[in-house]
Symmetry: C2
Subunit: 324 residues, 2 copies
């Protein structure tokens, strides 16, 4: 696998002026609550509501004219789907998105808003990769993998380049960078970029409690799977990690944390209260980890990636209404 | 009254590095919904959750050492109070905040979090200005007026300086700037700054439906009052405008719009859905006006100030739950 800072810098050049440089937010109240200096990279404010546009658009821009003309396909719980749909529209291609039938409505609507065709599958009985690869073969499409592709990982890594720039502008010396982890695209890219410039930073990946597939994969050295079940933290619900993302993360001293659904709810409420930022369940995982594992970060300067904000209004309402 | 671009530039120098340069957000979905290019100046992401810190801190930094040492007082529905409390703490002063007894809890908590003493009054039977001025006299405090003070107006005007910079960076040619209006501090400062650099921009102020006190004041040329009643749009619930703010706004061809509570609710929901931004009822007024008066802005490039995000979780939950 050819993956490193040069790939990420090339992605940044391709994406220049096409995606947003999202702000690094902070709150004195959040700092007091955590006992740390917490800097939140607000990818919920990214175009399409999550970081996923970075990897998807970098991939679309790397395809041949023929591939773009034939169309692309993505399987996705929603954020990657919206990103591929938007990237296809932005580059004159067309997108087919394979989504679980219980995907949040805001994500289904988002894919369609960007002009994509949505094909549903039943996550209880079907493997989304199989459904996707069949459609690719039938229709002559190019698969844009949600994480296990160097073009995607490189695009997501531009989050890390921005973090490094923004830390410098703010005069911060970070101790840790904390990322939600599903297949590993965001974490592998961002950690590669951050640690290239700041090798002393400790990288953390955050997974669903009870389903630490990346932690297990890093420990065993091979791709480990977990059952595919409908989850509140839908954005980090992939049943497996990637071969490439595992290889890339294995280069770094990655620590793994887990968060429960209730911890994610707390983080969603605190993001609203202290940051005025809407984060979706999976997008809140890194913040949830810092709130739930305060002892690991006490006194440190911690960068947290809030990876997405695509949550149905009814779900956010329920989370806010059940708070303290 | 000595008020103009030079005051605002001096305020920007004082505030440099102490308050945030908030982002100018946008959403293709919001643009489609409005039929305009909408750029949202996200002052909800400002320190203390609203633009008010700009004017308050500029004022605190303009006081003598003796005045700061004796302490300051503010009467406020909450955002100005939090801003004065934070500004006092940041400059080694102490703050007393006079608030209506029905102020949102998040705003009361915010004032106390920043170390202020909160004194409640009954808005049905008491005039907050009278309560405030009595305490000022008793305790030897300096009043930091919520809007009718050149130092405050100049601080709020830094919103406009940033908007001009950000429009330039983004290559935008704006047609209109739309602001929530209560006492007129934000609107007078921002409109002065924006139209200094961009004299062709049409300025709009947005008030509560049925309580167009600034529109009436601009028409009559004198300060007009409305009844002080508890309102959903609490941040724009001042019963009067300022003499100085009226004079400053009278220099410009200001147009006035009104929004209902329900229109504000729609805007709060759309801010969450399309921008991932939490805005409070009053902070949503400008966006609500653009959504509710689409015909006025069709095809235009419109800057909207989302002035604050301090809304109780229970209120936001109710607004989100009752949406379409």
């Amino acid at each position: 696998m050819d993956f490193g800072i040069d790939n990420i810098r090339a992605a940044a050049q391709r994406l220049e002026g096409r995606v947003r440089r999202t702000p690094l937010l902070s709150s004195p109240m959040l700092d007091q609550l955590t006992g740390a200096t917490v800097l939140v990279k607000a990818e919920a404010l990214q175009l399409t509501g999550s970081f996923k546009i970075r990897g998807a658009l970098n991939t679309l821009l790397s395809l041949s004219d023929e591939e773009r003309a034939a169309g692309v396909l993505a399987f996705s719980t929603g954020n990657h789907g919206q990103a591929v749909a938007a990237s296809a529209q932005m580059t004159g291609s067309t997108a087919t998105i394979v989504m679980p039938q219980d995907a949040p409505r805001i994500k289904v609507d988002g894919c369609r808003w960007w002009g994509a065709e949505v094909v549903f599958y039943d996550p209880a009985t079907q493997d989304r990769e199989v459904v996707g690869r069949e459609l690719v073969a039938e229709r002559g499409l190019t698969l844009v993998h949600p994480y296990d592709d160097v073009r995607v990982m490189s695009g997501q890594g531009t989050v890390g380049l921005e973090i490094v720039d923004q830390l410098g502008e703010g005069g911060y010396s970070p101790d840790a960078v904390v990322l939600p982890c599903s297949g590993g695209g965001l974490s592998s890219g961002t950690i590669e970029a951050v640690r290239h410039s700041l090798p002393g930073v400790t990288p953390f990946v955050v997974e669903r409690a009870g389903y630490p597939k990346m932690a297990r994969s890093l420990a065993s050295g091979q791709v480990e799977k977990v059952p595919a079940v409908p989850v509140f933290l839908d954005a980090i619900g992939s049943p497996t990690v990637g071969q490439h993302t595992l290889e890339a993360l294995s280069r770094h001293p990655v620590e793994a944390l887990e968060v429960t659904d209730d911890q994610a709810r707390v983080a969603m409420r605190e993001a609203v209260r202290t940051l005025k930022l809407v984060v979706e369940p999976g997008g809140s995982a890194a913040l949830a980890a810092v709130l739930a594992h305060k002892e690991r970060f006490a006194g440190q300067t911690v960068v947290v990636v809030a990876s997405g904000g695509n949550v149905d209004a009814s779900v956010l309402a329920e989370v806010l209404a059940t708070g303290p």
